[in-house]
Structures are given as C-alpha cells and as structure tokens.
C-alpha cells in the first residue's frame, strides 16, 4: 500500500539514501533495520514529506504520491513517531495530543473541556494517567513517547511509522506498545518499525528490510532470517555469537576501597537518602523504571542537579556541595541521558568536542596547543574507532553511535576516576552498542569505577557487577553476584519498598 521506488537522498557530503526501493503491504508490520547512519530516519522523513527525494518516486495506495509537508502525509493517513520525541515540552499534554486538530465548538473556538475529556480517555488506553493539563515536559520521557504514539494513532491512519519507539520505554510500556501494534495489525494498518533491539523485531515484525550505507541489502520475511544472519547483513561483516559484548566480570575487585561513595543524596521530591559505593574496576548498575530518578541521581553526583543534603566522595575525598566544575576536577565524568540537548555540541567539530573539557591541560598560559589537541583527539578517535570524515567534521553530521563515542571520548580525555553513564547505548546500533559495551568493560578493567544506567534490562544484567535498584527516588534493593538476573531485577522493582 506504501511503496518507494529507487529513491535517493543526498545531503552535503553524504548519499543518505541510494536508489532505495521498499514496499509495505497492508496489515504488515515491517521492520526497518540498519547501522547508525544507514539511512533509516532519512527514508522515513522522505516517506512523510519532511525531505523531498532527489531521485525516485513514492507510490501510495496504488497511485504516485508526492508529500510536500508532513501535514500532507498526515492528511493522506500516514502518521509517524519520530526518533527523538517530537512534541512541545512547554504545552500541556492535551494540547500536544490535539495540536493542529483541536475540537472546536460552533463558534470555531477551541472546546477545551471536550479536549481534556477526550485526551484523558485516549491516554488511559496507553497507560498514561498523568493530568492532561500538565506541561508535557514534566512527564517522564516514556510517558512523553506514549503521548506521541497516541497522537500518531489517533488520526485514522492507514500507515503508522515508528522510528525507534522503545528507546525510552520501560518494559511495561513496551508491552502496552506491542499490544497497540498487534491491534493496528488486526485493523489492517501497515506499520513500519525501526529499532536496534533485535529481540523486539522478532517479537512483532513480519517482514524486514535491511539498509546499509543508504542501500537496501536485504528485504523479505523476518521469520526466514535468523538473528546472526540479520546482524551480519546489517554490519556487512560477520558477528560473533553473543550480542552483548560484556565479558563475565571479575569479582576480586570488590575488596578495594571505594572510588566513589554517595551518601544520603536527597533532593526535593526527586531523590530520598540515596547511598551507594563504587569500587575501582566495578560496574554498578542503577536499575529502576523511567522516572525512578536514576538520571537525577547521576546528575546530582555530577553536580548538575541540586542536592539538599547528602555528600559525595571520590577516593575518600569529600567534594562539599558538588558543582559540575568540582565534580570534573575530582574525576567524575557524566554522560548525560539526552545526547543532543546536553551532550554533544553539534555545531563544533569532533576535535573541539573531544578537547572541550581538558583545554586547560592542552594549553600554555591560556593558549591552546594544537599539537597537544591533535595528539589526544587522534588517540581517542582511533581507540574508540570513531567513524568521521576527519577530526574537522561537525559532530552534528555524525550518526548516533559515533556521536555517542565522541561524547565518551570527551569524558575519557578528562582522565576520570568514575564514569557515570546514563543510557550509553540508547539509539545506537548493535555494532556500535557492542563496541561501547566492550569499551565499558575495558575501562572497568583499567580500574575505573563505572555507574551504568540503562532501561535495557539485558544490558544492565550483562554489564553490571552489582545493581542498585531505585524506585521513586529511593533505593529499594541491591542485587549482587548471582542475584544479578532479569528475574531478580524485575522482582525487586515490583516488590518496591517492602523489604
């Protein structure tokens, strides 16, 4: 019902799509996979009129179609959930849900009452119970994602496109999502589903199309293609069995004195008396649902979230009232959850981004020494295998995975004692994910303390030696050694405070 023929899209420098052909049948759930930068999002943006194809044509329900703007596509019945939540944080949940098609009374004025009422009903079906008059921005990302989903399905769509919808969803929410997808599937609505989480694909997708460097390398029934094959097709190289690159961690670290000690972290209404320790070479996972306050915990330790009480020690030295500056000096490196908004500086080059935090060390009398910078940039670009046209390329033009690596490079350049990683592999492909994960292991092996936040339970279990479970800003349990399993994790989260 939706079809693209030999479509190409060229960006300055990149051929993001190269004569891509792809067809979606009615009532089909079609997986679209590929490495970071393979062209998935671009293809989607072409389908929905955000970009115009440079070559090739679109066919929709038989005849040739041409969408000038996202609005055209929507009116035609193609609705989309984009990779980054694309809603208006300052506006209320209800307004976001109805923006552009608000219900109107007979004077042509908005009918707020009706809008709120309907919004409440619709969102209930997506497990979102928050007050619809609340600012959307104050909701957890997961909830925001659900609103976006509801918005997309609301208009009687014939095609629903989802670009990595689960990257910020918690397991329960993922289940809700799948429920909805199956329902759409039954109603004969075509779905394009982009994700880096292979197990999800196998759960709900019928067909798959694999993109690599803007070209289609495979398309067909998903069931007929086993994981390992799929991955090697994506990466264009063979991939060894396990998808998580974490090695089984070595337990003998645990008697060394803690490199990071957080005690009684408390911040109004978000965090309550959170304490834990990280030993050199240890990877401590922070478990919990979205909104549990993991990001806040991490930011608080990094001095970027205001603490009312509690203290943070690095190598036994207390940084009194942590500020970002002091934290970095003390050897704490924070990788924020929101790469785009708080991590990379899109307008600057890879070089500038990596060197940013250590400029003083790379300069004499306030004058930067290019030689030193080049040295360090070179070092980390090779070590982290950052794919870029060169140190001069703007980070904004890199694909997700490489942006993430650049960010890590910046952190490592500061020579930290502790790494605080918030969703380090969110939205990056299996290849890059594996690299990042093995990198985390390496770093731990070198004696760094690592705190790992991930909503990907598997990653948390595989990666962490210990998991501290949070819920509503309270530590509700710690899993060690043999307990570190998905089951125990889920149990603890569910059990909540009572233990």
């Amino acid at each position: 019902m939706l079809e693209v023929l030999d479509v190409s899209k060229i960006f300055p420098g990149v051929r993001a799509l190269d004569r891509v052909s792809f067809r979606l049948a009615a009532g089909e759930v079609h997986a679209l996979v590929g490495e970071n930068g393979a062209g998935k999002s671009t293809l989607i943006k072409v389908l929905t009129g955000v970009y115009q194809p440079d070559e090739g044509e679109l066919r929709y329900q038989g005849e040739k179609a041409q969408f000038g703007t996202p609005m055209d596509a929507q009116h035609a019945g193609i609705s989309t959930i984009y990779q980054e939540v694309n809603l208006i944080p300052q506006m209320s949940v209800a307004h976001n849900l109805f923006l552009g098609r608000e219900p109107r009374n007979r004077f042509g004025l908005l009918d707020e009452k009706r809008m709120h009422h309907e919004a409440r009903e619709i969102l209930a079906g997506y497990g979102v119970t928050a007050d619809v008059k609340r600012q959307l921005g104050t909701l957890a990302l997961g909830a925001q994602q659900m609103v976006a989903l509801a918005r997309a399905v609301m208009i009687d769509a014939k095609v629903v496109i989802m670009d990595e919808p689960t990257s910020s969803l918690e397991p329960r929410e993922v289940e809700t999502l799948f429920g909805i997808i199956r329902d759409l599937h039954r109603r004969g609505i075509g779905i394009i589903y982009v994700s880096h989480r292979l197990d999800e694909l196998y759960q709900i997708c019928d067909a798959v199309t694999i993109l690599r460097d803007g070209r289609v390398v495979h398309t067909g029934k998903l069931a007929e293609l086993e994981r390992i094959k799929l991955v090697s097709l994506m990466l264009g190289r063979e991939m060894s069995g396990s998808f998580s690159a974490f090695k089984e961690s070595d337990p003998e670290v645990s008697d060394a004195p803690p490199v990071l000690r957080a005690r009684g972290l408390t911040s109004r209404r978000k965090l309550h008396d959170i304490s834990f320790e990280v030993r050199p070479g240890e990877v401590v996972g922070l478990g919990g649902l979205l909104g549990a306050g993991r990001s806040e915990t991490i930011k608080a330790i990094g001095g970027a979230y205001p603490l009312d009480s509690g203290d943070v020690q690095v190598d036994g030295v207390d940084l009194k009232k942590p500020t970002t500056v002091r934290a970095v000096k003390a050897g704490i490196a924070v990788q924020p959850e929101d790469r785009k908004a708080e991590g990379i500086i899109a307008g600057l080059s890879v070089r500038e981004n990596i060197a940013l935090a250590v400029l003083p060390q790379l300069s004499r009398f306030g004058l930067v020494s290019d030689a030193k910078i080049d040295a360090i940039v070179e070092k980390y670009m090779t070590r982290l295998r950052i794919k870029a046209s060169g140190p001069g390329q703007l980070v904004g033009d890199l694909s997700g995975g490489n942006q993430q690596k650049v960010l890590l490079a910046r952190l490592l350049a500061t020579g930290p004692r502790v790494l605080l990683l918030d969703e380090p592999t969110r939205g990056i492909d299996v290849g890059a994910k594996a690299e990042v994960q093995s990198l985390i292991d390496e770093l731990a092996a070198e004696g760094l303390g690592v705190v790992l936040v991930s909503s990907d339970a598997e990653e948390l279990i595989e990666g962490a030696d210990r998991v501290v479970v949070l819920r509503d800003g309270v530590v509700v349990g710690t899993l060690t050694g043999a307990e570190v399993t998905t089951e125990d994790l889920m149990a603890t989260i569910a059990a909540g405070g009572n233990q």
Partner: protein, 317 residues
C-alpha cells in the same frame, strides 16, 4: 573566520557565504572609483578608516557576546559613561582619565554579565536596563554639560598620526588582532564558542560557564568604553548625551553582516571588521553623492538584507 575547520563540501556556496561581505565591499569600492570624485586618495581612505574605527571596536565586543548566543544593547550607554568620566579625571592626567572610563566599562560589564550568567536574565533585557539607565547616569555625571577637551595627549590619541597612520586606526587594528587571537588560539575563545553552541552541554562538561559569560560581557563593555574615550579624543569634547547614540544597532549590523550568526557558537572577527567597513562605505558614498537621509536609510536596509541573505546559515539542522 571561525575556529572550526568546517570540512563540509558545497564549497562554492559556502565560499560565497564566507566572502559575501568582501565581495560587496569590492563592488562598492569599484563603483566609487568610477563615479565618486577624489575617492581614490589616501586622505579619503584615511577618513573612512578613522570614522569606522570606533564602530569596529564596539563591534568586536558585540561579536564575542553574540558568539555566546547573547546580545548587548548597553554599549552606547557605556560609551557615554566613559565619555562623561574623562573630563572629571583629566585633572589627574590622561592615564587616570582613561583608567576611570575603563573602570566604568568593567562595572557595567560585570552588571550585565551577572544579570545574564547568574540571575539568568535574557541578554537583550538584561542589557536593555543599562541601555536606558546608563546614558541617563552618564548625563547626570556630566551635569548635562558638553565639556571641551584640550589635553594634548588625549587629543593625540584621537587625531594624531603614527608612521603616517592615525593612532586611532592603529589601536583599532591592534584590538582586532587581539580579539581574533583570543577567539582562535585561547582556551577562553574555545569555551566561548562551545557555550554559544550548547550551554547545557558545556555546563555538564564542567566548564566554568558563568565565569566565561561574565568575562565576555566585561570584555564587550570595556571595548565599548575604549571606543567611548577614543571618540571623545577625536571630537575633542565630551558630550554624554550624544556619544555612541544608536551604535548598538550599527555594531550588531556589522557583526551579522560580517557572517556571524545570532544563534551563537561561531564568531567571524575579520568578517565583523568587513561588515563595519561595508556599512561605513555605504554611508560615505551616500554623503559624497549628497543624497538625502531617506535614500541612505533605504539603501542601507537593502544592503543589509542582501549581505545577510548571502551569508546566512544554510544548515538544515
């Protein structure tokens, strides 16, 4: 003139946007060579440079502020304050007077900087306050009186020559070099651009964001006060109610026409100089051809639009 080795193709377009200003200047100069009598004389060039110098100096500071995604409306008032203080301290000698006016700059800069970086005011509003109050204060200080300046040393700064080139121009040139160096080669410059590019990120990366921002506003105000005292030296009188009137707009225009985006993260120092020169040449051409203000203003409008259109950011992101 950005610190980034922007390795992005479509060179011809980019080149044009990079060098649009210079192209415009070239065209204007050519026009004048053919249609304006006595244009191609050293004395004329000299006048144009002298007249543009103060605007260049103010625009340099403005470029830094704009690089941090900010803006500073108070520069004109700072010039007025500097001008008002000169006669008061000239009694203690030129140095004292100059120091006094620079201190005024530092103080205003600190206020702006703190309002923006610590209180978190939006730059345009934070500086609007001093834009309004600053000049009033300056006139109060000078008791509303225009004071003639007879001190030879000061006048030398304004109208003297060094190796055949006006001292004023030497100073402006020196400041251009300093600022260019600051932006390109120093830690401060890099941080400034990063903050303009993504402030939350730089905060998380542990950069002393507030300190950098405050420094930027101080620099801007100090440069403005230098411009203020130089124009006093040039006019050989201090008129707090007149000096630097509306210069904030000229400066912003110069910066933007020079190819520095108002969205921050990028500073083109040479472009800024070129932008100021371009506007100066436009005005000069209009005056030399004895055109009415109405024409001058409309032509300026068109040229600004064209220059900025050519130099605009083409990035889709």
């Amino acid at each position: 003139m950005t610190t980034q080795v922007a390795a992005r193709p479509a060179v011809n377009l980019k080149g044009l946007s990079q060098y649009g200003v210079y192209l415009a200047i070239l065209l204007l100069v050519l026009y004048n060579i053919f249609f304006t009598p006595y244009f191609l004389t050293w004395s004329n060039l000299r006048i144009q440079l002298i007249q543009v110098a103060p605007i260049v100096i103010v625009a340099l500071g403005m470029a830094l502020v704009i690089g941090t995604e900010g803006i500073d409306l108070s520069v004109g008032s700072v010039m007025a304050l500097a001008a008002a203080l000169i006669p008061l301290y000239l009694g203690y000698g030129v140095v004292a007077a100059i120091l006094a006016s620079l201190v005024a700059g530092v103080v205003v800069g600190l206020i702006n900087g703190v309002l923006v970086a610590r209180v978190g005011l939006q730059p345009i509003v934070a500086t609007l306050a001093l834009f309004v109050g600053g000049r009033g204060l300056a006139v109060v200080i000078s008791e509303g009186k225009l004071k003639d300046v007879r001190n030879p040393d000061l006048i030398y700064l304004g109208s003297g020559d060094l190796l055949g080139i006006p001292v004023l121009v030497w100073i402006a040139a020196a400041l251009v070099v300093v600022v260019a160096f600051l932006v390109r080669r120093t830690v401060f410059g890099r941080r400034l651009l990063a903050i303009g590019g993504n402030r939350p990120a730089t905060e998380l990366a542990g950069l002393p964001v507030k300190r950098v921002l405050i420094t930027v506003y101080v620099l801007c105000a100090v440069l403005a006060s230098i411009a203020g005292l130089l124009s006093v030296a040039r006019i050989q009188s201090s008129d707090a109610s007149a000096v630097g009137l509306l210069i904030e707009l000229s400066a912003i225009t110069a910066v933007v026409v020079g190819g520095t985006p108002l969205t921050g993260g990028k500073v083109r120092v040479l472009g800024t100089v070129a932008g100021a020169l371009l506007m100066q040449l436009v005005i000069a051409t209009m005056i030399k051809h004895n055109l009415q203000p109405s024409t001058t203003e409309m032509v300026q409008a068109v040229i600004i639009l064209i220059a900025v259109y050519v130099a605009r950011e083409r990035k889709t992101r």
